[in-house]
Structures are given as C-alpha cells and as structure tokens.
Symmetry: C2
Subunit: 196 residues, 2 copies
C-alpha cells in the first residue's frame, strides 16, 4: 500500500463515506460542530485567507425559510435533517488578512484591493474549505449531504448580506437506513491524470 | 472527544500537516499518485461531475516551462520539488455525465447545455476536488505545497487547451528540514459560525 493513513480512516473519510439523503433523529451537537471546525480550520487556503463562513440552520422557523429556496427534491430531507449548514464565501475576507497572515500583511492591499479579485479568490478558497468541512463531518462519524440544487440568490437575501455568497447547503447527521443511492462510477486514473 | 477519526489520522491530515516550501530528494512514484487518486476520487461533487484534471509535470524540460509562469517566489522550490501537479477544471465535463451519473443522464442537457453554467460548476467542483487531493497527498505521508501565485492564462496556453482552466499548482514530496513557516493564526469558531 502506498498510503500511510490507516485503512479505517480511509474508509471513514472516503471509501465508505457517502452523500446521505436520509438521517436518524440523533441530534448534532454544538460540541461536535466545534470539534469539526477545530480540525478542518487548519486546511490550507491561499494567503491563509480562510474565507468560508458557516450558518447553522437549527430553528424550525429558519429551516422552513431555507427549504423554500431549495430544489423541490432537496426539501423534505433538509427539513428532516438533524442539522443544516449554509456555507458561504466572505467577499470581504481581506479585512482579516493582517491578522491571519502576520508575516505578509501587505497582501491585503497588494492583491485584494479590488472586489472582483476578492470574489474570485473567496469563491475558490471557500470551496476548498467546504471540502475540508465535508471531510471533517465524516471525521466526526457523521454523514454529509452537500447540495447545490438551490436558489442561492434567494438564500443570500434570506440569511446573509451582499458580502457573503452562498456556495453550498449541507445536511448533517447520522445516516438512516437506506440513506444513499448506489455508488456512482468514477473516472479512471488514466482519464484524469496526464504526465508531461 | 467529539471526533471518531483517530488522533494520528487527525494529525496526519490536518493538525500536523503543513504547506511545505522545501522537499527532500525522495521521488514521488506513480504508484503513490495512483493510490492517492484511488482514495480521493470518492470525494463528493455536484452531479458526481468530478471535473478535476491533473497534469503531472515530471520532465525537467516541462518543469522549466512551468516555472516561467509562476510568481518569482515560487520558482526555486517548484524546480526542486520531487513532483509538481497542475490542477485544472474541465469545462467540458458534461460529456462524461451520462457515464458518471447513470441514474440521471438528463442532467447533462438540463443543467449544463450552456458553457457559462459549466464553467461556474467546474470551477467550484474542481476546487472541492483540489482540497480532497491535498488531503490525499497527506494521506500518503507526503506534504503538499499548493500555490496560486501564477499566471494561469500562461499555464493554460503552455500545457492545456481552451476547455481546461488551471486553478492551482501543487508541489508534492517528503518535506525537508525547516520546510515551513510558523503556523499562521486561524479564526475562532465564533467568528466563522453563526446559528439561526
């Protein structure tokens, strides 16, 4: 085997992990979310910019408001999920850069003075962090149900502001029985990787 | 502890893992890259679209061509790294969708008939997969050195085509002594997560 990570961890995070479409009733606690964050916050981003922001939709009232902006096929499972997170990219992340990148505080003005540059960077880096977050949910023994079938402009208006662009909604919980479809195929190494 | 993943794995993937700026001479083998891919290919993407493509820059001639498009501070370490990967987003990923999403082949025409929709989706989902790839490099006991300080238009012209948008360059190898800066700060849970 060419991997150092033990097989149980490989299975937990990737091989056996699946996108869940149904969850048990077991709550997802604040302590679990804190532990997930305290693990995945170390995932690398450009300039250590860490632009991901997370809105946990816990109250039934907020959950009702959220699902109105989801594709119809995503509504019932999102209403029933123990916890739902709206992941967004902070387009004003550069305000935190002097704190986050103390050895290179000039980065804020050198690279991110203009909003379009910030939006591009925050989108890509928040997406990286969304992936770390999904891995972290699995590291907590939970299943993630990431969804992009949503009216993100509506979600932004409902829960966020002009500086935060939602990129994903994630259901979180212990999977129910029959929580997933059959595993879909993956591309072969040769179809994805070329060498020059 | 609220996490199920064992502490050694947490450390390997996140807590002790760092962005390396210098590497040992030990080669990174094709078998290692295959094992990394065969693990992280299971990471979730929208519609199982898996738009990430990887160009491994192995030959000295290709490496020289690559570093000309990198920010000056990234050149020497990239020339010296055991292996370098250019990660790109395939904007024509929809051609593979009928194969990748056999239970919903209509997705190709329903959602991705137009190039701008494909470009947005491939960027975000390739970024998710770039994060899984970084986690996979660490799972192989290697260090990743992801970089976005580059002329991506130049890299695209040099190594790719109009359908593939480069999003990141990643140095890969065993870290050398003193391979990294001090750990930069991270935002507190309370600064990132809100509950509604």
């Amino acid at each position: 085997m060419s991997l150092v990570l033990d097989t149980a961890a490989q299975d937990l995070l990737f091989r056996e992990a699946r996108t869940a479409n149904a969850f048990s009733d077991e709550p997802v606690t604040e302590a679990q979310m804190q532990a997930i964050y305290d693990l995945v916050k170390f995932g690398p981003t450009a300039f250590n910019s860490t632009p991901l922001r997370v809105t946990l939709v816990r109250s039934p009232e907020a959950r009702e408001r959220l699902v109105q902006h989801l594709a119809e096929g995503n509504r019932a499972k999102t209403l029933a999920a123990p916890l739902v997170a709206v992941l967004s990219a902070d387009n004003e992340f550069h305000e935190e850069l002097p704190q986050l990148l103390p050895h290179f505080p000039q980065a804020k003005d050198l690279f991110f003075a203009e909003r379009p540059a910030r939006e591009q960077s925050s989108l890509v880096n928040a997406a990286l962090q969304a992936a770390y977050f999904i891995v972290g949910i699995r590291a907590a023994g939970l299943a993630a149900g990431p969804m992009t079938g949503a009216d993100f402009a509506g979600i932004q208006k409902e829960f966020l502001d002009d500086d935060h662009t939602p990129i994903m909604v994630v259901n979180i919980g212990k999977p129910a029985e029959n929580a997933w479809f059959d595993r879909s195929p993956r591309l072969a190494f040769e179809d994805v990787v070329t060498t020059v």
